[in-house]
Symmetry: C2
Subunit: 498 residues, 2 copies
């Protein structure tokens, strides 16, 4: 056996083990009996222990050395595979075991405290945990190492190649131009009537409609499922087993439908990763930003387009005859694209979404550099919301306690949402050009050409290229916010006649 | 840490790992997307490999030695725990790794061949696999060791303490007396009209009814679930996560309901195992026979009693107003106890069930001793069915190909079904005596006293005692078939006026 084959076999076993953990976590959210929580924690902890030993084994380090010597350097996929596997290994080995355990223990308690704190709207309950987590993540950054800013060490976990500075270069202008566009929309005085979405859409029909919508985009139900959870997610055990979740509210059909399509976008990516590379970095998703570009593209560029609604509307009429009575395709299109500054990130429209991200990114940076203390976050949060979105949370539950990320130590994660938006717009513009106008296809219910374009240009590469390089190879240009701004200005300029 | 604590901790980790395998298998049958079969096989195979290494580790052997020295001998639970764990370890170590792999490989192929063979009604397709499996199981018996008959080595896997001879001593009279009772019923010319059960019972209402029935018996849905599979089963990951399955047919309400209650009986046992002993043999079910005694007791002694139907009937009226129109409680009671010689074991009534078992037991014994060749099984099967049940299968699919067991190498398993019946009757009679007449309780929908009696006398002991000893401790008598025969003769004597 060659050194590379030996490594590939080891990594595949590790991936299979991780996929078992994923299944148990999915089951925990969707199927598990109420009283099984303790047993499930024990199961997950045991599998995590096994995985950790494999992932940090000296044996793996030696395999990586031998495989690296064997494949040498160059452009071959195998070189990229060893490079990425070695990167993962090196980063993991830098974290002392005690620090990792401290994080697991602390975030486990913090999650409970955060839930309680949010329910009671009492930031003080969460604060000591939050302080501890900021401290731990700062020590993580120190252990991982960085040149300019501790944030750099953490964001690299989600988006290889990015730093706080590189992100700011991309995102700060996006934030400024989004804020300016928002100002023009608000000043225009135009308002969209979204009341058609607040009518009663029966849950059973919604469920069928969601499956229909996801399947039409290209999600393969022979390789996946759709279930119900409080917070929608996508769990990909492998290309042949990808599980989506959504939630239902009879009075909020759009939340359920667009959550489903968003997760289906993640799912289509997972289903399109090269099966024969399963376990190798070449069979993994490229980054969180690229992943989000897929979900946001299907959700927004496709399913929030006027052409899509032209096609979808007759199906809405058929499936929800009562709720859709007297409405038009254009009315649905407009209602699903209404812009309004709001308090909650996950409910935000396409213009304001990145402002929510910018606020979190700025606060995280200052927390890690110790310019801002954890206790001062509520005040800083509210000031930023007033400055950028012209709204002030009435409570911390609607403010700095709304997201789960910080309680889990996920610092450096939020900017990948904005990267996803930026990449989605640039990739979509190129696909539209290459395919000779995709909107005409959407109006006919044809989504396969776009999916195939993504398979060819994004999915099949796995982690062979770093995110920005992948976007550049797919589009011929380094990533910029121009396609995103062009898209937003055209779409919302039309919608609000500005 | 004491040697015993160290052992307990090791065994608990092994049990947790096994519970992960169980969850993946349950998911495979109930949730898994169609195309994920290969990935699932890889996941299960990896976990099986990890489990096998743990279960056969020299380290475990040494721990067992040290713990054995520490606890010494006596009646304490810890002594029993080490004894049973050492028994498992010793048996496992006797199987050469290559033989185990040959079995896994062969039965995996044989399962496919069996499915195909049954579908095509072509025994020849299955025969080469069957021959190979008989040969492998004979070698298993040799590796495990036995005194009198190779069957002894295999039955010990399911029923510690039993041998072919000890089983025959118990089961042969049961078979003879059941056959004689069946003859008297058939000769009586009495017939029960079961047509009320063939009316249309809507699937949705059946599903709610099954949950209602299982919950009333005492199955705790906070610690379990009920789902749908082709073949009903119960999977207990631990007392807090026990999953039942059943199947639905609008024209066969009894199959679905009694399958559910049967599996709920298994589930109530699993939920009643001592949580604090999880992972130790003291936290495991005693044996397959004892397990089956629980399922058969709830299914037959409770839910096929006249008192039970007195209580249940109004609920049937309410839930199935159309199907139950004009029927009476007595009519349902009789319909659910109709006796008729049949071809298929899983559809058999309480009288003929053990005859189906006796036939399989006899054939297995002759196969292992090489008195019967695999190729002659269809002929021998049909001859036995004619002799004991007065029926002849029109096809092998309705004959020797009906059960999955042999394709999986499960020789020695069938007699545990009859042991279950025998133990159920003896335990039930004692519970009835101790509780001052349980039928009056059933008629009021009270099942908790019986469940508590089983918790106290059976469930809480885990594997502390061998099966026959456990029954003796619970009832004050060594197991005999007398309570079973008394029960059958009284019940069916009344039903058929003989």
């Amino acid at each position: 056996m060659s050194a590379y084959t030996e490594l590939a076999s080891y990594l595949r076993q590790s991936r299979v083990l991780a996929s078992c953990q994923q299944l148990l976590s999915w089951d925990q959210e969707t199927q598990m009996p109420h009283d099984a929580a303790e047993l499930r924690a024990e199961q997950l902890s045991m599998l995590a222990g096994l995985a950790h030993r494999r992932d940090c084994a000296d044996e793996l380090g030696e395999m990586l050395e031998r495989a690296g010597d064997e494949v040498g350097s160059g452009d071959e996929p195998e070189v990229a595979s060893v490079r990425e596997a070695r990167r993962d290994f090196t980063r993991r080995k830098r974290i002392p075991a005690e620090l990792m355990e401290e994080r697991v223990r602390t975030t486990s308690l913090a999650r409970q405290a955060w839930i309680e704190s949010r329910a009671k709207n009492d930031f003080a309950t969460f604060l000591p945990h939050f302080e501890h987590i900021v401290d731990i993540m700062r020590r993580f950054a120190d252990a991982l190492g960085f040149e300019d800013h501790p944030y750099d060490a953490l964001v690299a976990e989600y988006e290889p190649g990015e730093t706080a500075a590189s992100l700011k270069e991309l995102i700060t202008p996006l934030q400024e131009r989004s804020a300016s566009l928002l100002g023009r929309i608000l000043d225009s005085g135009g308002a969209i009537d979204a009341s058609v979405l607040k009518r009663r859409y029966p849950t059973d029909a919604q469920e069928q409609f969601n499956r229909f919508g996801a399947e039409k985009l290209g999600f393969d139900f022979r390789r996946g499922r759709l279930d119900v959870t409080a917070h929608p997610f996508c769990s990909g055990q492998g290309p042949t087993d990808v599980r989506l979740t959504t939630r239902y509210d009879e009075r909020n059909v759009a939340d359920s439908y667009y959550s489903t399509l968003h997760e289906a976008g993640h799912g289509i990516y997972e289903q399109g990763l090269p099966e024969e590379r399963y376990g190798s970095p070449l069979g993994d998703a490229c980054s969180f930003g690229i992943h989000e570009s897929q979900s946001r593209m299907w959700e927004n560029h496709v399913a929030r387009s006027r052409a899509y609604w032209t096609w979808l509307f007759p199906h809405v009429r058929e499936r929800f005859p009562k709720a859709s009575e007297g409405a038009t395709a254009e009315e649905y299109y407009r209602a699903n694209n209404a812009v309004a500054p709001s308090l909650i990130r996950v409910d935000a429209d396409e213009i304001t979404y990145d402002l929510h991200i910018a606020i979190r990114f700025g606060l995280e940076e200052r927390l890690l550099s110790r310019e801002l203390s954890a206790g001062d976050v509520p005040e800083a949060w509210n000031a930023e919301y007033q400055r950028l979105l012209r709204v002030t949370p009435p409570t911390d539950a609607d403010g700095c306690l709304q997201d789960v990320h910080w309680s889990a130590g996920l610092f450096g994660y939020f900017p990948t949402y904005s990267l996803g938006n930026v990449y989605a717009a640039q990739l979509f513009a190129k696909a539209d050009e290459d395919l000779g106008g995709v909107h005409a296809q959407f109006a006919r219910g044809e989504f396969r050409p776009l999916k195939e374009w993504l398979r060819e240009n994004i999915h099949r590469h796995g982690r062979r290229y770093r995110p920005r390089k992948l976007v550049e190879l797919a589009t011929g240009h380094k990533p910029t916010i121009e396609p995103m701004m062009t898209y937003l200005e055209a779409k919302f300029g039309d919608l609000y006649s500005i």
